[in-house]
Symmetry: C2
Subunit: 311 residues, 2 copies
Amino acid sequence: MTFVQLQYIIAVDTFRHFASAAKHCFVSQPTLSMQIHKVEEELGVKIFDRSKQPVIATELGSELIEQARKIIAEKNIMDEIVHRKKGLVAGELKIGIIPTLAPYLLPLFVQNFTKKYPLVRLVVNELTTDLIVAQLRSGRIDMGILVTPLQEPGIKEHVLFYEELMAYVSKKNEAYQKTYMLPQDIDPNKLWLLEEGHCLRSQIVNLCELRKASRDASHFDYEAGSIETLKRMVDMNDGITILPELATLGLTTKQLGQIRYFKRPAPMREVSIVVHRDFVKKRLIEILNEEILLSIPSKINLNKSKYVVPV
Amino acid sequence: MTFVQLQYIIAVDTFRHFASAAKHCFVSQPTLSMQIHKVEEELGVKIFDRSKQPVIATELGSELIEQARKIIAEKNIMDEIVHRKKGLVAGELKIGIIPTLAPYLLPLFVQNFTKKYPLVRLVVNELTTDLIVAQLRSGRIDMGILVTPLQEPGIKEHVLFYEELMAYVSKKNEAYQKTYMLPQDIDPNKLWLLEEGHCLRSQIVNLCELRKASRDASHFDYEAGSIETLKRMVDMNDGITILPELATLGLTTKQLGQIRYFKRPAPMREVSIVVHRDFVKKRLIEILNEEILLSIPSKINLNKSKYVVPV
DNA sequence: CATATAAATAGATTTTATCTATGAATATAT
DNA sequence: ATATATTCATAGATAAAATCTATTTATATG
C-alpha cells in the first residue's frame, strides 16, 4: 500500500469515475486502475463495485476509504509540522461554508488573503451546516464557517463576529411605515423564507415564533434557495424578508431605504469558525481568522452578543 | 514520502542505530540511510543528529517521528478493518505489562493464546505504569496490563480481575504466629519493599500506612527489583513481604506455609487492561481479555472489589 | 598509531509505477 | 438491429525508484 494508491482510491470515491479521478491525479486512467487493483489484491477485498454506474464503493470499501482519508490527513500533518517550524504559511486549507454566508463573506477576504499568503491554497465548498459537521468529522474539510452555537460533540467553535439580522420590506408592506421593528410586526403570510435546511431559516422561524399553523394559510408556497432570490421576491412582489447584515452591504441606496432595523437589542446570528480536534492546521486557521476579522466592515466587529437568535 | 521511509525512521528512532534499524527492517544499512536521507531532503529538515552516538532525533525530528508513528498506526488500522470483516483474528498486538504481573500472568495465557490464534503476533514489553501510559498515548503500544485505577485522561480501563494481597513471612517473624493478619501487625522495619516506581510498592505503603519516618530507622536499606528477590530475601533472611496472589501460585508446600492472609475483606489490587481511544484492535483486545480470564485460576476470578488498595 | 565502528557514497541490478495503445463489456443512439 | 459512446481492464514498453554489494569517510577506542 502506498500513499499514492490511497490518493487514487480517494479520488475515485470523490469523482465516482475512474477517468475523471485519474485526470484529477494527473495520471492516465490505466495507471489509476492498476494501482487500485493492486491495493484490492493486497488487501484481498474489492473496494469499488465497477458494475454500477457511476462507480460505487462496496460496503467494506467505504470503511477503507474513510480510513484512507484519515491516513492522508495524518500524512498532511507531517508537512504542516515542517511548515510551522519554518515559519512558513503554506499548505492547503479545505473550508466548508454555509450558503447564506458564502457569497457575502468570501469576496471580502479571499483576494487579500491569497495575495498575502500565496503559498496557501484555499479550497472552498458551499455546504449546509450538517454537511460541514459531517465532513469535519470525516476529515474531508479542515474547517467550517457557519452559524453557532451548534453543541456538536468533538466540534470546537471560535466565534468570528455577530451579524445583525434586519428586515427588508417592500414599500407596499405595512412594516415599511415603522422605524424600529419588532418581530411581532411581521405578517407571517407576507414573509419570504429560505428553503428547509438553511440555518438562517430556522433562526427566522425562532425569531418570529412562527408555527406551522400560521403558515398553512399562506397564499403561495414558495421557498427560496438563496438570499438573492429572497431580495428579488421582495423587490418584485410584495412582502418582507430577513437579511443578515453582510447581505445588505451591496445594496443600492434605494434598496437601503427598504431596510428596517429591529428594536435594540437587535437580533444577531453568531458566525464562527468550527474545527474538529486540535488540528495542526491551527496556525493556518488562526491566520484566516485574523484576515476575516480584518476584512469585514468594522461596524460588524463591534456587534455584541446581546441577543443571539438560537438555531 | 512513503510508508517504508516512515517505517525506517521509526526503526532508527527505536534502535538509535542505523545498522540495527536496517536489520530490523530486513534491508541493508545503505538502503535505510538513503531513504531516510530522501525524506529529510523532501521535507527540507534534518530528522536525526548523526554526530551524537547513539544517534538521536533532532527537536523537530522528534515531532516528525511522533507523527510518523501516527501515520503508521492509521495504516495498520486499514488491515485491521479487512481482518475484522473477514472474521480473521490476525495482526500484531503490542502489549505493555508491569513487572509485578509479567512473570506470573504471561505464562498463564501466552501459550494457549498463540496456539488458538496463530495469526496474531504478541509483542510484549515489561514497563512501569507511567511508561505504559506514555507509550499508549504515543501509539508505541496498543494496550497495557497494569494496576488501576489510574485516572489518566484519555486512557480507558477494563478491569480483568482482583488480585488478593497476602503476606509472606519468615518463620522467625512474629507475624508467623498469626492466622489472619492486620496491616498493623507488620513491623515496618522488617518489611521488604520493591524499589520506587513499582505500583505494588506504593500500594503496600498505602496499605501499611508507612511514613518516611518509620522507615528511616531501618537497619538495612535495600529495595528489591523484583518480587522473586523479595521472596528470597524473606526466605534467606528474616522478615516479611507482601505478595500478590498470582505470585504465590508457584510456591512449594513449605513456602505456602509461610503465607498469611489478611483479615477479610482482604486487600486487593485491581488488574486491568488499559487502552487509548476506541481502538480498532478492539476485537483483538477483547479476545485477549477473554483468554486471560480463561487462563487464570478460577479462585481469582471470584475475587470481589470489596477493598481495593489505592495506588 | 592501529583498529573498530558507524554512517555515507558509488555503481549495478531489480522492482515498480507509469505511459500509450488496445480490448471487452455495456449502455445509447441511429 | 447495428453502430457508436462510454467505461474500465489488459498488454507491452519505458522511465523512475528502491535495493543490493562494495567501498570510502569520519569518529571513537585500545
